[in-house]
Symmetry: C2
DNA sequence: TTCATTTAAACTATAATGTACTAAAATATC
DNA sequence: GATATTTTAGTACATTATAGTTTAAATGAA
């Protein structure tokens, strides 16, 4: 640790506030949803906003996001990845503040409903998201682009489904994210060809009489494959 | 503009310094290079470091990076993209400081040699990059990963070559970035199949007797294709 | 000059994969 | 048994990947 006087040039630096905002995706009955909340304090009291917070002195940016997510949803250990920094000088009319946006994927049935309501948060279908404060709508658009890109190259879609899911469910998720209709036979063929799904001896009968077999994603196997250069592409 | 008192909660926030560091890639005679410099002031005086700066109150993060790049290389209008934020609480032992790293691709023959030397900066081949301050070596590793990923999906490799380049040159660039040997016939075929290169009536004879035709990348055409959903994959 | 050499460039054949579509069997519910 | 959805099988066709062969252009050595 160097002597503090070495850091004098640091201390003279301008004060720029550092925040993080979370674009929280959920998937419910074929529809992609986003969690936003109505602000209860100024500035922007009463307006819709992404959930977020200033970054505290004793936490990293992802830690701040995890804190916010726990607070609003009661969930821990969820998928979280940095989107990008928003730093335009006049993005926040009240203060010089940059926000490092992160996007999160949650299993929508797991969250704590009380916790969510307690904070005035609400799920909106993607197309129904209202006007949000500052540049938050831009953040959502950017996050969606990223989600589309990422889901085709990494198996992160599973983060939006229950641990046990059916192939038709996964397909409908991909169709919702990419706004397309996929061929069910080819989707199944390609997906199973990776040999990364573990077929269970259970069926989900909520959407059909016949019922569809439940699967689990084999994370361990995927990790090993990825290390040896395997490329997931859906 | 809201009344300032609305922003009181902003003002009470902790002071976290915001910096940006630039991972500057160049390509010279088949070798991928990085620009780093020897710090001339404390903290870390005399140590090797990425070029960077604190972000000023009246500039965005990319603006700060562009300022630094202009200062060190004399270049404007160069490819610059955000890598990610580095925000570990103890990443800088002297102050709480986050850095939003950006990577830049420059045409290595264009930079201002005087400007570079003036600031104590130096090009290192990728494998010869020395130990740098803080987490800067990690930033480089991350930037390289990103560059590999990005060059296969977006035509940004051209940013590292002169405006006029040959196909063998481009191939050697891709080989340097991805550390592989590519099949020259297939590389050429795939590349030309996009119909995005404009063949010139000139040859570059610096590397062979026969000489290879020079090409220019058709940015305008690419922009249009991209908008209509075209996907570049090399 | 002729010829061997080198790199670039074009052309070609075959295998592998992706895509679209047809058919039908399986499984539960009513 | 009628019905709806899931699941398997298979096939025709287009596209792409991979690799073999050939031609072309320039150069320097014999």
């Amino acid at each position: 640790m160097k002597a503090l006087e070495n850091y004098l040039p640091y201390i003279e630096q301008p004060k720029i506030l550092v925040a993080t905002d979370c674009i929280v995706f959920g998937f419910d009955e074929g529809i992609l949803k986003l969690l936003v909340f109505r602000r209860r304090i100024d500035p922007f009291k009463g307006e819709w906003s992404l959930i977020g917070s200033f970054v505290n002195e004793e936490e990293s940016v992802p830690d701040a996001a995890r804190r916010v997510l726990l607070q609003f949803t009661g969930l821990e250990n969820i998928f979280l990845e940095e989107l990008k920094a928003y730093s335009d000088v006049d993005r926040d009319s009240g203060a010089r503040c940059i926000s490092i946006a992160q996007y999160a994927l949650i299993r929508i049935n797991d969250y704590d409903r009380e916790q969510v309501e307690l904070h005035g948060a609400k799920w909106f279908a993607l197309e129904d998201v209202p006007h949000l404060v500052l540049d938050h709508n831009t953040m959502i658009a950017d996050a969606l682009d990223r989600l589309r890109q990422k889901t085709t190259h990494k198996p992160i879609g599973f983060e939006l489904l229950p641990e046990k899911f059916t192939i038709p469910q996964l397909q409908s998720l991909y169709e919702a994210i990419h706004q397309t209709k996929l061929d069910d036979r080819n989707f199944r063929k390609k997906l199973l060809s990776f040999d990364l799904l573990i077929k269970l001896n259970e069926k989900d009968k909520s959407t059909s009489k016949k019922g569809a077999f439940l699967y689990r994603f084999d994370y361990d196997k995927y990790k090993k494959l990825e290390e040896s250069g395997f490329n997931f592409v859906l």
